[in-house]
């Protein structure tokens, strides 16, 4: 059996498994629902996810230990994940194959020639890792500074390295070490002068370009809702995701670029591929030439997926182990083995020192620059409502992959990809939008917290969410608070009876209660012409027949006590009829002023009970800008936002 056939089977297998995981990511106990399917497995296999979260948090979330196995296998076999496992890579591979079909050999060879642009992905990787590692680096430097022996030794080494570097060394490698030590010394000195941990910030942004979160996000939030819009087999109704066009556009561009250059994303952009490339130099087994009998036919390069030049000095970091070169070589001079390639190997990614420094410094600097906007502190956006179980905003951003798993599993479609409401860092992180879904955040649901692969949404129990059992002392988890907009609420602003929000509030006892208020209707002050026990005749104003017959209108006689009102059951142009229990014991005299009043039940929010679930906002009949809206005030995860003493 040819190894390329096995590779194709492997790609199809993992792609089907990945699709299956996307399909079953919905609540339910049927076998094709979430149940115990390890839907995050590909994310857990991703070393960039594990490394990124280790850098931002200093800890490895247990589920991500799978990535260690992938790292070990990469050190043994090379970039097997890219060529054999990665579902996004398989899409590129297939589309690239379609784009390459029918092209002459010369054109295929040209397309697969190594390109300087392939170094870009390493800069991307470095940028993302540095953006993630700022706080950890600052802590380490502080540790160095706080430990005098280490600090003095490091300072001495740095000075020596600086001197040697300035005097000029012939060896590039030594020069690189010298520059590295110089930079280290600079940062150490900087840490000596200023407390870096108060300046440097870190953020996990690898999910933007990491292919695994990217493909999860694209399939779950764009492709499945599109494909299901006509069949309605996966979702009950149409799923909507804000900004899906951008997620879809990134995916589509990445895929279509394969028609121009095979595996464009893998070669030029993919930070995970870059990480594997860095590790691949250590790999035990590698593709390479076994002898010098090569005829230079270059057939091996015609279908090379990584543009790694197997016929020449093979670029080991670029080889994705597609094994096409083995299959194509008719002289058996290409092999996969432990010995180095007979024609030489390039083991280090082709990066310039300038580019390296630029990417690293940019990565370290970008997050502090973004944070200068104040979005993480005083200028936080109240529209950013995170799902229940979300960590505090800084910790959340340090863990969130933007993979969209929480959005996919949400049964009511209220968890949405964030645009720029949470700043640049928050792009595609989950926020709640209560207008777009089919309800609010469901009272008895904690699904998103259990499906999050990095615990940016920490797993919570229903008891914790609802503040029951052992959590009764803490109270329920609040994701925000509902505020009534008195300028838009029908009973508050328009004197129109409405208690939809109160009726739909799922909290028990209800977080929304009503205060009764009687308001005199427009032109509702009239004079009595004559009266009977169950009706009066009025003069002056002409009433619209039946307008006050719905049960919400009352008659207030000015001469009677303030609290005494009589319910109206019918009215004509000049008559008002009362309900039997409100008959007049003493008939009002002609000329008595009476008011027609509407009984309003004006909603009020109980700050201690409201969890910010958003059901009220979703159900509000003022369907544009809702008259009751949830914002992130009083959310449990941040004490500073508390409105309660």
């Amino acid at each position: 059996m040819k190894i390329v056939i096995v590779r194709r089977i492997s790609q199809v297998f993992f792609f089907v498994v990945f699709l299956w995981f996307c399909i079953v990511s919905s609540l339910g106990t049927e076998w094709w629902r979430l149940r115990g399917w390890p839907v995050n497995w590909f994310l857990q296999l991703d070393p960039l996810v594990a490394l990124g979260t280790v850098l931002t948090t200093g800890t490895l979330y247990s589920g991500l230990s799978w990535a260690l196995a992938v790292l070990v296998l990469t050190v043994l076999f090379g970039r097997f994940f890219c060529g054999w496992v990665c579902p996004f890579g398989s899409i590129h591979h297939f589309v690239g194959y379609l784009g390459r079909r029918g092209k002459p050999l010369s054109r295929s060879l040209e397309l697969n020639r190594p390109h300087a642009g392939q170094a870009v992905k390493y800069y991307v990787l470095l940028f993302l890792l540095c953006a993630a590692s700022g706080v950890l680096a600052a802590r380490i430097l502080r540790l160095v500074f706080d430990t005098p022996p280490i600090f003095l030794a490091l300072a001495a080494v740095t000075i020596v390295a600086a001197v040697l570097t300035v005097r000029g060394l012939r060896s590039n490698r030594r020069k690189a070490y010298g520059i590295f030590l110089l930079m280290l010394g600079f940062w150490t000195a900087a840490a000596f002068v200023i407390p870096l941990e108060q300046v440097i910030r870190s953020s996990l942004q690898s999910g933007l370009l990491d292919p695994i979160p990217l493909v999860y996000r694209s399939v779950n939030l764009v492709l499945l809702p599109l494909l299901d819009s006509s069949t309605r087999t996966l979702f009950v109704g149409q799923r909507y995701y804000e900004g899906a066009w951008l997620i879809g556009a990134v995916f589509l561009v990445a895929v279509l670029l394969n028609l121009k250059t095979p595996r464009f994303y893998c070669r030029y952009v993919c930070p995970l591929g870059a990480l594997y490339g860095v590790l691949a130099r250590l790999s035990l087994w590698k593709i390479g030439r076994v002898a010098d009998e090569c005829t230079n036919c270059r057939l091996c390069e015609a279908n090379c997926e990584g543009a790694c030049e197997p016929a020449g000095r093979i670029r080991v970091p670029e080889c994705v182990l597609c094994m096409n070169c083995l299959d194509e070589c008719r002289h058996d001079v290409i092999a996969y083995r432990t010995a180095p390639s007979a024609s030489g190997e390039v083991l280090v990614p082709d990066m310039s020192r300038r580019g390296f420094v630029l990417a690293g410094v940019s990565g370290l600097a970008v997050i502090p620059l973004v944070r200068l906007g104040g979005g993480m502190s005083h200028s936080w956006n109240p529209e950013v409502i995170r799902p229940p179980g979300a960590l505090s905003e800084a910790d959340f951003i340090a863990r969130c992959l933007k993979c969209g798993q929480c959005m996919r599993v949400c049964p009511t479609n209220v968890v949405q990809p964030c645009g720029l409401q949470a700043g640049l860092e928050g792009l595609w992180t989950p926020v709640l939008d209560f207008r777009i879904g089919t309800s609010g955040c469901q009272y008895n649901c904690t699904a998103c917290s259990h499906v999050c692969p990095t615990a940016a949404l920490r797993p919570i129990s229903l008891d914790e969410k609802l503040g029951r059992g052992g959590f009764a002392g803490k109270g329920p988890i609040r994701i925000g608070t509902a505020f009534v907009d008195h300028g838009r609420c029908l009973p508050w602003a328009m004197d129109k009876p409405c208690i939809v929000c109160q009726e739909n509030c799922p909290v028990s006892p209800k977080a929304i209660f009503v205060r009764e208020h009687f308001a005199t209707v427009r032109d509702g002050v009239v004079e009595v012409k004559s009266a009977e026990p169950l009706s009066i005749r009025i003069g002056g104003t002409v009433l619209k027949p039946g307008r006050y017959a719905a049960g919400d209108h009352y008659l207030k006689v000015s001469s009677e006590p303030e609290h005494q009102r009589r319910r109206i059951v019918a009215n004509g142009e000049y008559t008002v009829s009362l309900s039997p229990e409100h008959r007049f014991a003493e008939l009002p005299a002609a000329g008595t002023r009476v008011e027609i009043q509407v009984r309003l039940q004006r909603p009020q929010v109980d700050l201690e009970r409201c969890t910010g679930c958003g059901v009220c906002e979703h159900e509000c009949p003022v369907t544009g800008r809702r008259a009751i809206r949830v914002t992130a005030e009083n959310e449990s995860r941040t004490r500073k936002k508390s409105l309660l003493l």
Binding site: M1, F13, R337
Partner: protein, 327 residues
């Protein structure tokens, strides 16, 4: 590893394929292991009732209704009007407006199959009429009518019925427990004494074209009109058109006439116009509400009519038949 010998390549390929098979098997086995509580409202600890429960602690613990092989997986949960929404998010208002008194529920399952369980919900609705109201207002789309009691139906994994003052739901976690669900339902019916529901109005709906499963009792705020309560509705198929008829027994003929007039006024106030159609029914009015037709009349102590029909002619014909059926 040398690529030359095809045999080596084949062996390596087979090892890889075997690995894939192991991964597939691992994934398949993994899906059986999950916490069912994550996919449904949490199961409280055995023997405990939630602290928030506000129902009466006295009363049956529902264990009498467990059939062979089933044992309680939780303590009985009791909910009163104040706490009902904790258990049935979103629908509590419907139950409360229909006279809800108390909900008792409990899960039962098999110890050797933790993922297979059923939950028995017993709603005390104060009287059979109220129980029928909540039963009828939330009929599932895939309902299969049963004859174990007058008002009962089942879906692929659940059973719904009215028994005396109780509205009962039995919902299983898996479809394969359908027989257990039915057995528990039958045991409940056999064990719990009950009076029949007084829903005589149902018999007044003319049978031709009637969808019996569509009959529903609306307790309050019928058709958005706060004064109108206690109204039955039923769907008819008339010449391929689906139409809704309604019927409400009032306290007296005068009250029925007054309510008919009040409802007509309510419709007019909300944009309806009275047409000059004459159905030959004394006092009947045909109103045009935007693109639909509404017929309202009273006969004896009954308020009746046709609601939101797309075709005025069909609405008129059904109203005449309904009028003839009321005795």
């Amino acid at each position: 590893m040398d690529s030359r010998p095809a045999r080596t390549e084949t062996y390596v390929g087979l090892v890889i394929l075997f690995t894939l098979a192991v991964i597939a098997a691992g994934i398949f086995l993994k899906q059986f292991h999950y916490d069912a509580a994550l996919f449904a409202p949490a199961v409280p600890e055995t023997g405990s009732a939630p602290a928030s429960s506000a129902g009466s602690s006295d009363g049956p613990d529902l264990s009498d209704y467990a059939t062979a092989g089933l044992s309680p997986m939780s303590g009985v949960e009791v909910f009163g009007p104040e706490t009902l929404s904790e258990k049935i998010d979103g629908k509590a208002e419907m139950y409360l407006s229909a006279g809800f008194k108390e909900l008792r529920c409990r899960r039962f399952g098999r110890s050797d199959r933790p993922n297979e369980w059923l939950e028995l919900f017993v709603y005390d609705m104060d009287n059979p009429r109220n129980a029928f109201a909540v039963f009828s207002l939330q009929k599932r789309a895939d309902a299969e009518e049963l004859s174990i009691v007058r008002f009962s139906y089942r879906t692929s994994n659940a059973l719904y019925l009215v028994h005396g003052r109780h509205y009962v739901e039995i919902v299983a976690s898996v479809e394969s427990m359908a027989e257990d669900v039915l057995a528990v339902g039958l045991k409940f019916i056999q064990t719990m004494p009950a009076e029949g529901a007084n829903v005589g109005e149902i018999g007044l709906f003319p049978p031709e074209g009637l969808d019996p499963s569509s009959v529903a009792l609306h307790v309050s705020d019928v058709f958005g009109f706060s004064e109108l309560d206690n109204t039955f509705t039923a769907s008819y198929n008339v010449d391929g058109v689906t139409v809704t008829a309604f019927l409400s027994r009032r306290k007296s003929p005068e009250d029925a006439a007054r309510m008919a007039e009040a409802y007509r006024r309510f419709l007019v106030e909300n944009g309806a116009t009275v047409t000059d159609a004459n159905l030959g029914i004394e006092g009947a009015r045909v109103l045009k509400v935007f693109d639909t037709f509404e017929v309202v009349f009273s006969k004896g102590s009954f308020l009746a009519g046709v609601h939101e029909a797309d075709d005025g002619d069909v609405a008129g014909r059904l109203a005449v038949r309904l009028h003839q059926g009321i005795r």
